[in-house]
């Protein structure tokens, strides 16, 4: 094979930058920065808007296929126009606001939720140098924007002046707050090891291959795997997805804090949930799965943003897969699971990562000891805490009457 062209300057790789330069070159110098920002916004909204539409369809198709039925296939070939049909239906629905609801708050809640969900996309590196805003404290920005979701959920629950939505808003808040902690604690080891809070720095720390073929992604280290699992479980809870979708537990409190919403506002909430899910998966890819790096040196020719897309899609499919399988946790079990299982595990994970970074120089037999100790530090607490969490819960055997 001819000298492998440097992956950085393959044609496909530089396409987005070339496109951007082409567009921004038309603007005078002071406005170029503004045009670049605007272009990034348009790109994010277009890509993730379409991904949202595709996700709603994919969710229903996969859920259908899992349940031995074809899923929507009436609107357009294989149901591809279903999102458009849903969109039109939802937007043309009457937007009913209860008379004694708090109109200002009732309107503000979906707006803040959607705004914070979209703002979170600003720091995720989608490709080699394809990050909309390269902040020095990018990861911290991502999670501080995420923190406003609680506010919006509270506003939604309170402003509807409805007994059900108030009860559900309380539950949603308790869940969001109790899963904020493991979410934040799970990425602290990544920052500790890669030494920087900026997302591009973290992705750079995961470049290169060990032994020629294994990528040095954080997920392939013991503490990285534990952190990744804790991050994904907390992300499930943060975006109110499957085993933790208590707030909209349709079997109990109808639509939870969304009971009094209809029409366009309900679509905002729905969209915000999917954007939140996508943003959290994007951050998971950046922190643990090596951002836009290719898994094998041989596959370097595929452009970096394609790799980011593949990893993102696979994580989202995992979300849908989990939704199709698990029943829902009860409120107290949900919070107990967070405080008595995830938070201790995340703290111990900090210790494992500290040990991992201190024992950086070890090699040969010492390397085996390093991996061994790290694995023990990860698995033993998992088993012990797991046994304590499910004390008294076990499949039972049954006697038979005569």
């Amino acid at each position: 094979m001819t000298a492998p062209i440097n992956p950085a300057d393959s044609l496909l790789e530089r396409a987005p930058q070339a496109l951007r330069d082409l567009v921004t070159s038309h603007f005078p110098q002071p406005w170029r920065w503004f045009a670049n920002g605007l272009l990034a916004d348009v790109a994010i909204l277009a890509v993730f808007g379409l991904l949202f539409a595709a996700l709603t369809l994919a969710e229903r198709k996969i859920l259908g296929r899992v349940q031995n039925r074809p899923g929507p296939n009436r609107t357009g070939p294989f149901g591809l126009l279903q999102p458009i049909a849903d969109g039109i239906k939802m937007l043309s629905k009457e937007d009913i606001v209860p008379r004694d609801a708090d109109h200002l708050l009732h309107f503000l809640a979906p707006v803040t939720l959607l705004a914070s969900a979209i703002m979170a996309f600003a720091v995720i590196p989608y490709g080699r140098n394809l990050v909309p805003v390269d902040l020095d404290a990018g990861v911290l920005y991502f999670f501080c924007v995420g923190a406003t979701t609680e506010l919006a959920v509270f506003m939604a629950g309170w402003s509807s002046h409805n007994k059900y939505s108030l009860l559900a808003a309380m539950r949603a808040l308790a869940q969001l707050i109790s899963y904020e902690l493991p979410l934040l604690l799970s990425w602290v080891p990544v920052v500790m090891i890669s030494g920087t809070l900026s997302t591009t720095g973290i992705v750079a720390a995961q470049s290169g291959w060990r032994w020629g073929w294994m990528p040095t992604w954080h997920v392939f280290t013991p503490w990285g795997l534990a952190g990744f699992i804790i991050f994904m479980v907390s992300a499930l809870a943060e975006s109110n997805r499957s085993p933790f979708d208590l707030p909209e537990a349709e079997s109990e409190l109808i639509a939870g804090h969304l009971t009094e919403y209809s029409g366009c506002k309900y679509v905002f909430f729905f969209m915000a949930e999917y954007f939140g899910m996508t943003a959290l998966s994007g951050m998971a890819v950046t922190l643990f799965l090596g951002g836009w790096h290719a898994p094998l040196p041989a596959l370097e020719f595929i452009p970096s943003y394609a790799w980011f897309g593949i990893k993102l899609i696979s994580l989202l499919m995992g979300f849908i897969w989990i939704r199709a399988t698990f029943p829902r946790l009860r409120m107290d079990q949900l919070t107990r699971f967070a405080w008595k299982f995830l938070v201790p595990l995340a703290l111990i994970n900090l210790a494992t990562a500290a040990f991992w970074s201190l024992s950086f120089g070890w090699s040969g037999p010492m390397l085996a000891a390093r991996c061994g100790v790290a694995l023990v530090l990860v698995i033993v607490p998992f088993v012990l805490l797991g046994r304590r969490l499910t004390a008294g819960l076990a499949p039972r055997s049954y006697a038979y009457a005569t």
């Binding site: 859920l63 108030l166 085993p243 979708d245 399988t325 009860r330 499949p395 006697a399 009457a401």
Partner: protein, 387 residues
């Protein structure tokens, strides 16, 4: 704490309780159009925070005056109405009614009809328990996947009922002294094929759900019903066996041909929702055993007692009580005949209604999410509860 009159504070109609410690008790009405109540059933739940302190079931939304109509319709005319009692198990309802009338009129039933009745009753038990497992997991929030697997199997059984009796759920198939039509060998072969594949389906279903930690957390230790309390409340069926009392009318009465079949009766040790779920899964496995034995031994012969008259059936004055082990419990029919074509008194002993009486005792101290799961595990059908 004596509840003082309602104090309107904003949206919540809050019954202010002058017990300073508990604060305001929130009264939430769930149903009758709530997605998780099985049919038109309403629960007025008084909540202290998340805990349930009082639960008042409200019934009667589906009352159709079934028993009074029974008094003004002929014995045969009431048979199609029994399909509408527990509309999931028309075959067992018909059998119980036919049993009561046969005891009243002193009719005998040919061998083949008895075998066919056992086969249909066990098929009905299979699809009822599969339905319950699906609904229970739907209540715990499993977004329909186990429910769809359960319904996939149930549809196969309902297709068999349709091929035999003409309708999937409203079978109207039993007559006094036998069955309406004979089962063709092709139909029996289809039943054998279904029974053969049902064991594999149950294994896959249990693999999906029974070991699931979330389900165990949601159902173990929830809604505990001890044996003596169940017996005192007159509970029958899988709920009673889950509470540890091995009372199965198929063994106790030995009606139909059940003494000929060897099957076991599973009993639970804890009496909680998980036990009620597991007992039904194990009962399904026993039913498969019974079906295999019945299909092997079913003889040829008449399907209907030749002496039985279809019209103008006037039993001698007297009374009779026919009961069978329905999928939900003991379903019985009590008839008083005054010699005319219509029964003088027509009474149904509905298992769902009796099992429902302990709902409040099971739910006290649990949360709303638990009350939904407990209601699901009691397995009620409002057609039978309200009659």
């Amino acid at each position: 704490m004596t509840p003082s009159p309602l104090v309107p504070t904003g949206g919540a109609t809050v019954r202010a309780v002058n017990d300073e410690f508990h604060g305001d008790l929130l009264e939430v009405s769930m149903g009758p159009h709530h997605p998780s109540t099985h049919g038109v059933f309403r629960m007025v739940v008084t909540l202290d925070g998340e805990r349930i302190t009082k639960l008042k079931p409200v019934l009667g939304y589906l009352h159709r005056n079934h028993e009074k109509i029974g008094e003004s319709t002929s014995y045969l005319g009431s048979m199609p109405y029994t399909d509408r009692l527990d509309y999931l198990n028309a075959m067992t309802n018909n059998w119980a009614y036919a049993l009561a009338v046969e005891r009243l009129g002193g009719l005998s039933v040919p061998e083949r009809a008895e075998y066919l009745r056992v086969i249909l009753a066990e098929l009905s038990r299979l699809q009822n328990h599969v339905c319950l497992a699906g609904f229970l997991l739907q209540d715990t929030g499993a977004s329909g996947t186990p429910l769809m697997y359960a319904f996939r199997e149930r549809e196969k059984i309902l297709d068999l009922f349709e091929a035999l009796s003409g309708s999937r759920m409203m079978c109207n198939f039993q007559r006094f002294g036998g069955c309406r039509t004979d089962a063709s060998p092709a139909w029996l072969a289809q039943v054998a094929a279904l029974v053969g594949g049902f064991g594999r389906f149950l294994d896959e279903f249990e693999e999906l759900i029974t070991g699931n930690e979330i389900l165990m957390a949601r159902t173990q230790g929830v809604g505990v019903l001890k044996g003596p309390a169940a017996v005192a409340a007159g509970i029958t069926g899988p709920m009673l066996r889950a509470a540890g009392v091995g009372y199965d009318i198929r063994k106790v009465d030995g009606y139909g041909l059940y003494p000929r079949f060897t099957f076991r009766v599973p009993i639970g040790a804890h009496g909680d929702t998980y036990d009620r779920y597991m007992i039904r899964i194990l009962e399904m496995r026993e039913s498969i055993g019974i079906l295999e034995q019945a299909l092997r031994d079913i003889p040829a012969g008449p399907i209907m007692d030749p002496k039985a008259k279809l019209r103008g059936f006037r039993p001698k004055p007297g009374e009779s009580y026919g009961r069978i082990e329905g999928p939900k419990g003991e379903i019985g029919f009590y008839l008083i005949s005054d010699g005319s074509a219509n029964p003088y008194r027509y009474r149904v002993r509905p298992p769902s209604f009796v099992n429902l009486t302990v709902l409040e005792d099971l739910c006290l101290g649990h949360t709303i999410a638990d009350s939904v799961v407990i209601l699901g595990s009691i397995d009620i059908v409002l057609g039978e509860v309200d009659r």
